[in-house]
Symmetry: D2
């Protein structure tokens, strides 16, 4: 971290500020006196140094972090890609493209099994399904809860597909004991108490980027889970909030190559939530694969118009089959799968 001091400060003010930083953060400091400014270079582990707090000191002109504040999620300290292996042997992040598909919310045994079989038949490797649903309105359908998780497990038994579902609080974690991948939704990306608990789990976590979270904040939230002991994390970009209103969110396609460069964790895209429109799922999926995504998570419903939740963006099994065909063309061009 580089700290530029204001240019009207006395030597003793500089010395006093230097020793304050050394004591507060346990860092070494290299002072460099320039023509009209003094620059402090912090040496050692600066991840606990609060940039805003330093900037607020009266003596400080500017602060610039040189090292990323995340360590375990950082590719610098872990150059090889993280590969996640599920119970059935499926690997994620190993160079192939992983398709996750299924209904927004689990609604009935027939529904989830019908969708599971349909998506499996065209190449999906994991079944998604919401049991606990984060809804903006308290009056909207909140999901089937534990019963939904039970139906997902039935679908797993029937089809062999591993399952992924979203957890909304630490108190629900017990119910997720047999879920293959635990999903953290965008609205909980900075629910730090939940992240700490997920760090104690031994199952992979899919961490979705918050609606207005920066790429660095996403990596810091991954760091929370990793710092608590669980390093099996899948990052998922699902659209960010901007001024554009044609789509529900704006898919930040650049996040894929940036996350792959900064981190070693697998990167997925959720084109369904990013767009909120079924006809956009195919082109966004193709773009995501061309940009280097390790996988996609797509909503598929056997009857989108009647879906209890967010049918808006779900594909029919037929649309999904046709989309997968086009995704595969890009994946092959990329040398994947």
């Amino acid at each position: 971290m580089i700290i530029v001091l204001k240019n009207n400060k006395t030597e003793s003010e500089v010395a006093s500020f230097k020793s304050y930083l050394e004591q507060k953060y346990g860092v070494g400091i290299h002072v460099s006196v320039g023509h009209d400014s003094v620059v402090l270079g912090l040496i050692g582990d600066t991840s606990a140094v609060d940039e805003d707090s330093v900037r607020a000191q009266d003596i400080v002109q500017e602060v610039k972090r040189v090292q990323e504040p995340y360590k375990k999620a950082n590719r610098k300290f872990h150059p090889d890609d993280t590969v996640i292996t599920l119970a059935n042997g499926l690997t994620i992040g190993s160079g192939s493209l992983t398709l996750i598909a299924g209904p927004c919310s689990v609604e009935s045994e027939e529904q989830v099994i019908e969708v599971a079989e349909a998506v499996k038949s065209v190449g999906a490797a994991v079944l998604r399904g919401g049991a606990f649903k984060p809804r903006t309105s308290p009056y909207a359908f909140q999901g089937m809860g534990a019963d939904g998780l039970a139906l997902l497990k039935k679908a797993r038994t029937k089809t062999g597909l591993p399952i992924i579902s979203e957890v909304m609080s630490a108190s629900q974690l017990e119910l997720f004991a047999e879920v293959d991948i635990i999903q953290v939704g965008a609205r909980n990306m900075q629910n730090f108490e939940l992240l700490k608990e997920l760090g104690k789990q031994s199952r992979p976590i899919m961490l979705k980027r918050g609606l207005s979270s920066t790429i660095e904040e996403l990596l810091m939230s991954a760091e929370y889970i990793m710092a608590s002991g669980n390093e099996q994390i899948i990052l998922c970009e699902r659209g960010i909030r901007t001024f554009e209103t044609k789509t529900r969110n704006t898919l930040d396609i650049s996040a894929i190559p940036i996350l792959k460069r900064l981190s070693h964790l697998p990167v997925f895209i959720d084109p369904s939530h990013a767009s909120g429109l079924p006809w956009l799922v195919e082109p966004l999926s193709m773009a995501a694969v061309a940009a280097g995504a390790d996988g996609l998570i797509i909503e598929v419903h056997n009857n989108p118009a009647k879906a209890l939740c967010d049918g808006a963006q779900s594909l029919t099994p037929e649309m999904f089959a046709s989309t997968v065909k086009n995704i595969k063309k890009i994946a092959e061009a990329m040398g994947k799968k």
Copy 2:
């Protein structure tokens, strides 16, 4: 809710869609056949109707919600201002201006009592102090936890000031049993499981707006708490995320008159987090009062430069005293206090 259908649909398609909506949402529907479009007017309680889901139906051209999706938080159904009364008789939202002040995080008995006495002496009516701190980095100071709450209570005994502190998960609620106002931070505004639990509490809740949450989403989160039984809510605008980088967030000053018009709940402003800069606290506080805020929550630290957390934006007791003097001029011009 008004639904405009595409203009190439047959009568039987329209009829089938109408009966689907009636059954799914239990609403009445008025069909109006125009020159080149059919418009459905939904009658009754449409708060459970998912706008995006309806928009996704193939038959639908456009959807427009006419009624707000929130009810208990809606001024239409509750024209009088909600006034919150604390244990010591202090009223919030009754036409006076309430000042809440205190350190970002509780650090020691001396610190919190010194600050409490200082802010009380110039007019603060409630003491704020963080015990559990939501930090972007897992390596940053996470707060004193239960010990911090104990010190806040000591300060209350000493000064008589009611206390407010932030809760980060439902499992911590037990520890907040004697806290006068429970704060929900911006990052937890859509932690729906937490909101439901807060609905079962009998103490007032200060609900902070999320960094990228719309005003309507803030009111829907208030509705979550109210729908679960707790109607004592203070709304707090604390800056939203925009492209501007001079301030940490952009204070949405318009939110004050808009929230006061749409809802009956008291509206506070947090100028410290909105700006992230101590010298901006005074002008933003004055603007907030002039725009009609019911109160302010301001960070004050006896030694901002040495604060363990976010000293960046804290005022010294001296700066706070001077700021309060200027705030009072505006409050008087507004006929407050």
Copy 3:
């Protein structure tokens, strides 16, 4: 356009408002009286009706535009793709992928010819080069002006590549008489006086999306040019402004399929300005092609580190050659070129 009136209005208020609208905008109006609201359906050409102005009337509850406000740019009224043919016979928007490449700004004859030959040899079909440069700072290099245009023409003579360059005001248009495609920069997307003048030109226009312009505003700006007589327009997405700071702008990849659906005009992507980072140009280009772009405009400089302007995001000719190779793989998978 659908106008929902407030539900406490008298019949004569409704009648008076109806006749006011009919007279002001020359539209027909269908009144539909619902259970607790009156809905007006405007019939005819509503493109001149100002939505905000209507919404501001005291009698109005909500307004919803059903028809797009653009006509000539609208695919509904022009279902076939617009194909643009340059003087040398090159077609744009006809199903093939068009690569435009060249330096950010023209700096010397050697530079522009060296780059032109390099990009032509690996597949670029048009040469780009800035002569008039929009710079945030008045102290930054403002481009070579007319001399720069002369050098571009020399490069065209030498290589046979058509040329594109950015115009910054109507008074410069005379100098652009022999430029094959005239570019309008993002900052001038709503310079309406310039747009009107461009409508009188007989050459194709590349219209770049403004940093914070919606997709609809981009189409309305295209409409300005088309309404003045010039229908040869290429739309170009070049990144929008969001809160994310890792990239200079956020490439809105969804804009490609949306613009292709709403309009018949060709859609290009500028991955250089969207990212501001040379290593992001390749993955963003590949994503753009996979999402259906008709072409790309890429900055290439023979010595990016010494570029007088924005070298930051320029590729070397070698990087460009390697990028084109990967772009072609995706283009082939898409059945293009």
Copy 4:
């Protein structure tokens, strides 16, 4: 400017980069070799150094500008407030609050004179009125043009109020010869060719902030005008584009104290365009004055419902009179006027 180099670079690479910078930008450079990084401190005038361009060099890890890139607009080099004096002796920015009011667009002699007299009678000091209107749609009313300017001048003769109107291109400037203040609209804030021409004018310019322009970009646009010779500039914040949809734009109230601190130029607020809603004009005006604004520019129409343009946000003369009364209370509390 501080440039941090990557830590794996050789001495000769550093030396070569140093001499490249010295030659390209004519700056002095102080090299400071730290524990694990080399930091270059640029000395002298760095306003022409392109930060992005430097960041793009392979050798560079990070760049941080220490000095603001604007000079003439910078309070550091011009500590005293700029006071603008109009022909009639009215001073702007001298500690009093200046009210500018009038119709969005000039529509008729009766209209503009009626409004002018009404706003003058309650305290407006300048008359605003649009003659050339920037409209998103080519089919919307584009203003009366030269005839509109003539009517404004008639109103000036009748009432004695100086006039302000918006120019949309340099070719219109001749028509503005007798206009007291020339306004640059938000969409033209970065129309650099226009800014350069305005620098040659001898009349004050009101420069409005672009919808997605940063505060620094606003100051850089002011710098364009000042660098060309005209230092009489009024800055105007009129709302920025964010994700919030309740208001047309989000008024960035913090911009007032920030601009006043960074620059010596007067700062105005346009509450009409910032909100797009007439009932928000009063609270936003009061907030702006409390935050330190030097003036307000407010839309007033004698018949908002019938306005040819943007009636949506206009006040009636009665509403304006009542708003001024409340604004004055705040101005008095602030010791203004």
